[in-house]
Amino acid sequence: MALAIDAHELIKTYPPDVRALDGLSLAVRAGTIFGLLGPNGAGKSTTVRVLTTLTQPDSGSARVAGIDVLADPCAVRRAIGVVGQKHGADPEATGRENLVLQGEFHGIVGAQLRARVTQSLERFGLADAAERQAKTYSGGMQRRLDVAMGLLHRPQVLFLDEPTTGLDPEARAQMWREIERLAGEERMTILLTTHYLEEADRLASQLAIVDRGRIVVEGPPEQLKSDLRGDRIEVELADSKDAGARVALERVSDLTEVKLEGRTLRARARDGSAAIPAVLAALDAHGVKATSVTLARPSLDDVYLQHAGRSFHRADSEHEEVAA
């Protein structure tokens, strides 16, 4: 399948001695949502800046929509839409004026531009606010205007740099639905950066975890999680002193780390849902009564811990300490 983004060994340093990208490589298939997940300062935004031609890497190469970002940045700009971390709309201009300016810069003019702007305002629920200055918009409305501007020229590849940071839960859910719709109905390629684990988990079909300017692990979220040692199975026993329970589970193949603490029996299974019938059968064969069985999938936080060697939140706060 064609690659919409193909980056090799990107290196970017900032003076005096900050290596923002340290040999980052990335491949995104056309028509998918690709999530770049990482704590603040991991290199996500620098990656987006390089891929959107906003800045240049010290070394390495990248193609976006098949075009070399270093050789022909202007052609890349025509093919991409960008929604940055900060609001990109001119606060003094109205929603409509902002969209018109964006269209003009992309060479869309006249009646076609007017029609497209009106359509876009309606689609993003901004029709009533079209003649108001963007600075009077709520946070959610400004974000929708940003996305509308990023999409006006119908780009092949859309970059969303932390699109839901600072949004309230309702606006965030709305943004998620819109992103899913773009990828689903319009078959658009979307590169999404986020430092929300749940956002990456929900939206991205392919995920790369970035840490210290490198991609430490990559794959579909489900696969990343199942690559961990497995699911966690917890069995709540009716009788706390049932020593036979542990023995019973140790005989079930595929289970590891079987532990009994009080009335809770814990184990790991590579595939938890497939293991549950065997677990129940083994307990039954040994005459052990279970009151409940729960299965916990590993979270992306577990994945991050596994590959970056520290918890996500610690990495986030470490960066803030450095920045402060």
Partner: protein, 257 residues
């Protein structure tokens, strides 16, 4: 064609913002009036200095005020880009395929429009106060055009500086440091044969003086076409050079991102 279109779209941003803030429009219109009245009153006695042959001081002063106004007004143009950089608008502009030259040229055109409005007010007020435009309407238009060209050069310089430094303080400092010395090192307020010879020598290389002398010749005296033509060419060349500098500043800004 596309370049002109994009330039005009960028200019429109400024024009709309100005029209939405009538207060700011008011300030930009009252400032030149205050200058004319203040400088006119302050330096009235200049005409009594032996060797002054410029006629009434208002005749002498008006072209100087017009030019001074043009540079001080244009000097702040870069502030818009600093706001754009801080607000995130700049990054969005730069990831679009817009021609970088249009980003600069658009704000320069807007600065020139402002200058034309302001200088027109000054010229009319001075006329009401008794200024005698021997060069007629044509002469006055040449004065305004020369001031606009000089303003264009300053607007580009201001943009380039803003994009390179991204700091309000630097721009404020630069504008304050440049405007008055350049004005004093010209014949804007004082006739050249009455100033020390070193100032006369420096003034020959001062673009502000090019605009003042040519503008004064066109509007107030019997027009000296050689002077007007050569100064016009010099100012036009300067405006182009400054525009190239400002346009290239964007690439430098992007490398630093």
């Amino acid at each position: 064609m596309t370049a002109a279109r994009q330039t005009w779209q960028v200019s429109l941003r400024g024009v709309r913002a100005l029209l939405r803030q009538p207060g700011y429009l008011g300030i930009t219109l009252t400032q030149p009036i205050i200058w004319l009245l203040l400088f006119g009153a302050l330096f009235k006695a200049v005409t009594r200095i032996p060797g002054f042959h410029g006629g009434s001081y208002i005749n002498f002063l008006t072209p100087g005020i017009v030019v001074m106004l043009a540079i001080s007004s244009a000097g702040w143009t870069g502030m818009g880009f600093i706001e754009d950089i801080n607000g995130g608008v700049m990054d969005r502009l730069l990831v679009s395929p817009v021609w970088r030259g249009a980003l600069n040229a658009g704000t320069v055109v807007y600065a020139m429009l402002t200058i034309v409005i302001q200088t027109t007010v000054i010229v009319l007020l001075a006329w009401a106060l008794g200024a005698d435009y021997k060069g007629g309407v044509g002469g006055v238009l040449i004065l305004v055009l020369l001031a606009g060209l000089l303003g264009a050069a300053f607007a580009s310089l201001s943009n380039g500086l803003a994009v390179l430094t991204r700091q309000r303080e630097t721009l404020i400092g630069a504008v304050s440091a440049v405007i008055l010395p350049l004005t004093f090192l010209s014949s804007a307020l004082m006739q050249q044969n009455l100033v020390p010879s070193w100032i006369r020598s420096v003034a020959k290389f001062n673009p502000v003086n090019w605009a003042v002398e040519a503008g004064r010749s066109a509007a107030m005296q019997k027009i000296d076409w050689g002077l007007v033509g050569s100064r016009f060419a010099l100012l036009a060349a300067l405006a182009v050079l400054c525009a190239i500098f400002a346009t290239r500043a964007f690439a430098r800004y992007q490398r630093s991102l």
